[in-house]
């Protein structure tokens, strides 16, 4: 499936969930977001989006926290699967956009591209639920279930490989922090 189209599906269903994006999704998500105040476009410390998401999920158990991770990014922080499973936040949904490449640097293949199973890794680490979708229809049809089940949940999205180079990550991340914190503080329980 196409990355942007998959994010449109997630955006239609996210409600007031917190969204943490990183790398490529930093540039696509703002095009589709319906609740930008609750979006944390996470730039820098590549691979750590899942860890920031874990912190948010622990701090705000009343909120759904959805991480839009990349496959190359997750490989840089693979231990986070174990850390997340150990803390077991029921409100964390961890999407992995599996395109098999480092898109932001021009499409070089990730190690062992196509031979890794992120759902198997997450299941073995102890995630409460793992799912994999290869097309938009399956994603659309299962989004309500994904959002309602007890996490932590890992959802692997099989994407068509792309070699376009996304712009280098945001340099304005600092500016969205006060807005995000204020919106999260205002936000009532889901």
């Amino acid at each position: 499936m196409d990355s942007l189209e998959a994010q449109k599906v997630i955006s239609r269903h996210r409600g007031d969930a917190v969204i943490v994006t990183t790398m490529s999704t930093n540039f696509e998500w703002p095009q589709v977001s319906t609740n930008p105040d609750m979006d944390l476009m996470f730039s820098g410390a590549m691979g750590k989006a899942s860890s920031v998401g874990l912190g948010l999920a622990l701090a705000r158990p009343d909120k759904k926290v959805i991480v839009l991770d990349g496959d190359g990014s997750l490989l840089m922080n693979l231990g986070s699967l174990v850390t997340i499973a150990n803390m077991a936040p029921p409100n964390l949904i961890h999407f992995v956009f599996e395109n098999g490449v480092y898109r932001t640097t021009g499409g070089q293949p990730i190690p062992s591209a196509g031979r890794i199973s992120f759902t198997d890794l997450a299941a073995a680490a102890g995630y409460a639920s793992v799912r994999e979708f290869e097309d938009l229809e399956s994603l659309e049809g299962n989004m309500k279930t994904v959002l309602n089940e007890v996490g932590p949940t890992l959802v692997c999205l099989k994407l068509v490989p792309v070699s376009d180079r996304s712009p280098f990550p945001l340099t304005t991340f600092l500016s969205i922090i006060p807005r995000f914190k204020a919106a999260l503080q205002r936000s009532s329980s889901t």
Partner: protein
């Protein structure tokens, strides 16, 4: 005459963390600081968050802070070096008041320092412009509150180097 304390006790550090309102300890065990975290296991005031690698700890603490909690990160100076990019791009770039308890491996007051982990710790903290305090004995423990206050006033990370021998209580 009151005798000067020569040791560092977990209870004093835990009390100081409580004074600061710390809610979470994001932790990777190390020889120098493990006694602190072991002392808070089961205490209702704190949630321990064990991690697999130190860079993770910084990012988890950032998420906790953005969600309104007051975490402290605890690991060794070796792990502090490993977590450099997370400290740079999260704690420093985002101007977040993160308090770190760093076990000061290789540090000795009275004998030559030969461990490169200790040799490089303070020069790197200084190069990054991160304020730090050395805590060797119970008499130094108030530096934790001082560091916490400074972190919030300056919106910068502050490091507490745990350099003392310690006792269980």
């Amino acid at each position: 005459m009151t005798s000067k304390s020569t040791s560092l006790t977990a209870g004093r550090i835990v009390d100081e963390l409580k004074k600061c309102g710390i809610t979470h300890i994001v932790w990777l065990p190390d020889t120098e600081s493990q006694f602190v975290c072991e002392a808070v296991i089961g205490q209702p005031d704190f949630t321990l968050v064990p991690v697999c690698r130190e860079g993770e700890a910084i990012a988890i603490a950032v998420g906790l802070m953005l969600g309104g909690k007051e975490p402290v990160v605890a690991h060794q100076n070796t792990g502090f070096l490993e977590s450099g990019d997370s400290i740079r791009s999260l704690a420093l770039d985002l101007r977040l008041p993160l308090l770190l308890l760093i076990g000061y491996r290789g540090w000795h007051r009275d004998s030559p320092i030969t461990d490169s982990a200790a040799i490089f710790t303070e020069p790197i903290l200084e190069a990054w412009g991160i304020r730090y305090y050395l805590v060797e004995t119970d008499e130094d423990v108030e530096k934790i509150s001082l560091g916490y206050k400074e972190a919030h006033e300056t919106r910068q990370p502050v490091v507490i180097l745990l350099g003392g021998g310690y006792e269980e209580s």
